[in-house]
Symmetry: C2
Subunit: 134 residues, 2 copies
């Protein structure tokens, strides 16, 4: 039902500086970087085994990630787990009294369906659910 | 050189309550729980693909994890990545000016060698390196 960690998202002040650690020093490959104007963030994707490290740099102080950075500082932002059936997972979570940020999955351009569990229901961790396109 | 995420460690106030989310609601298997008197912490290990979720509950307020919890609250504490050769990885990190908490790997009972990268060198993330016993 839950298959793997899809990615860990890390908020950083400066993508290039953070790549100096993750890519240059530690040696992870950089798959791609991407601007996400919707969330006002630049993202670097670094595959690591069956998962990925995603580095997020806010492009404005007013963005969600910008506000997070100002409040909490750099660090791990959320963990994303892949599930077979996101509707069934959400139903099961709700049966257990777990609160989601969005009860109805949203859909990314490439077809990935996603939802976020509220950190207060996951004991302080922001957990993203992914169902990849079949 | 860096093979996979070995685990994500999450600090929680109450292991049983946190298992209510990760095991009971989300459906991860619980591999085992373990008391670690050396670090004054109880740990639950939940396999997830090639990685694990590790839940850490401090057993005293004076322990390292207890102080972390008091200061930062519940949440993701560190990410551990598996490497083939921890000595070579440490040497490479030092060549890039990365500071480690311990430059010389420590060894767990079962033979795993480990070291921690200082979060200030990893842009806010506490990164653990593991070299598993051959």
């Amino acid at each position: 039902m839950v298959n793997r960690i899809n990615h860990i998202a890390i908020v950083v002040e400066d993508l290039q500086a953070a790549l100096g650690f993750w890519r240059d020093a530690l040696g992870l490959p950089l798959h791609k970087t991407e601007e996400n104007p919707g969330e006002d963030v630049n993202i670097a994707f670094l595959p690591l085994g069956e998962s990925e490290i995603e580095l997020l740099q806010p492009m404005s102080a007013e963005s969600g990630i910008g506000k997070y950075l100002a409040k909490k500082g750099q660090g791990m932002h959320h963990v994303c787990v892949e599930v077979d059936d996101i509707e069934a997972t959400i139903a099961r979570l709700r049966e257990h009294g777990i609160e989601l940020i969005n009860d109805t999955p949203k859909v990314r351009e490439e077809g990935t369906r996603y939802a976020f569990v509220h950190p207060k229901s996951a004991h302080g961790v922001l957990v993203e659910l992914y169902e990849l396109p079949k």
